[in-house]
């Protein structure tokens, strides 16, 4: 197993090994190197759209995210516990 999509509602998958840009995981071609345990987009995601993992909302996209891109703190933002936004 090289990656896992936890829930069918998810728009991200988690890698189970260090992956290289250009590598094909399922029907997704990675656009960047992605470290083991990190997430990549399994579909195009628009800025402001919910990021879904475990079938639940984990964050919002802070910019447009192309299918195959690394999804992490550089392009998604947690919604909860954001005292800095108060």
């Amino acid at each position: 197993m090289q990656f896992i999509i936890i829930n069918q509602l998810d728009n991200v998958a988690t890698t189970l090994k260090d992956c290289k840009s250009g590598e094909k995981l399922g029907d997704v071609t990675l656009l960047q190197d992605i470290k083991n345990g990190h997430k990549f987009a399994i579909k195009d995601i628009l800025k402001g759209e919910n990021i879904v993992k475990y079938g639940e909302v984990i964050a919002q996209a802070s910019c447009d995210i192309k299918k195959g891109s690394h999804v992490h703190i550089h392009n998604i933002e947690g919604i909860r516990g954001r005292g800095d936004k108060q």
Partner: protein, 390 residues
Amino acid sequence: MKNTKILGFRREDNSFGLRNKVIIIPSVHCANKCVENIAKLNPDSVYITHQHGCSQLDYDAKQTQMVLAGHGTNPNVYGVLIIGLGCEVISADNLAKNIKENTPYKEVHHLIIQEEGGVLNTTKKGDAIVKQMLLNAQKQTQSFGDWSDIVLGTECGGSDAFSGLSANPALGAVSDFIIEHDGSVILAETTELIGAEHLLAKRAINEEIKNKVYSTINNFEQLVLNSHADIRGANPSPGNIAGGLSSIEEKSLGCIYKAGSKPLVDVKEYAHKITQKGLTLMNTPGNDIEQLSGMVAGGCNLCIFTTGRGTPTGSPITPTIKVSSNTKTFLNMQDCIDINAGDILDGKKTMEEKKEEILEFVIKLSQGELTKAEINKQNDFSIWRLATTC
């Protein structure tokens, strides 16, 4: 796992200790050094030190008292020596009295440095008391218990993206097993339920518990919001983020797996005694050691602690089994981690097999096998602070 018996110490109130510790506790940080002196002379005893006990506002002092007393009353403890200074908010005699009232069958002693004429005199007297208690503790006979005697504290720390895929679901299966066998399980780390509260609330046995789930988690989040700080960086921590976790919601949704799937029967404040069979939510911070100390004070006699990045954490009195979420961390920190759940992701073990492996280890540790944290004498202790000192 049927017909297998757990070995331990049946206390007079029917609680059950997997260990039979003699613990030395300072009522105030001014007594830390004296406690260390006595402990050095008695390597079979355990001790804690802390930075509290004086100049604390009443609600914070109450919390300190509750955590210290809870370490004395925990069923894994045979006897207690409290060392105080004499002028502090949390007095040694009051703390000793508190422990004795709740667990009258225990040996509870206290010494006050100002009354004994200094640290050397107190150390000498304390040494004699602890030596005698250790002898007395050895005379306690062990008896058989069962899974209903377990009060399991669940914990995850140094989480990574695999925690929610391997170690936490494996611990969740253990939690379900213990509840099916009439034991108690604690889910804590309120911070790490932010974003997953709706999943927990759905499992509440009634409206009152459901409302408590929401209010406990909302109140905690409000504390963060009121601070005007961004929770990210504190939780998820830099290590969590390096491990692939991007937000508190993502971390929470992985965390909650360790509580299995059974109904939530109770919600308790930090360090309050667990009184129900089944799953209880205890309101604690996500901070590993503050959480562990709170659960131990609540009577937890066993802790299972999942970790992605690896952690040495242990309690002075409650055996703490470390389960790694991935094989790399297990191999990297073999001196700290007891069980590898990474082999589930490696395709070598099923979740069911991992559950059995953890339960078998619990039986072994009840029969005397030590956890890695115990071997390392990883006697961690800290208290969730609520207010400033004055």
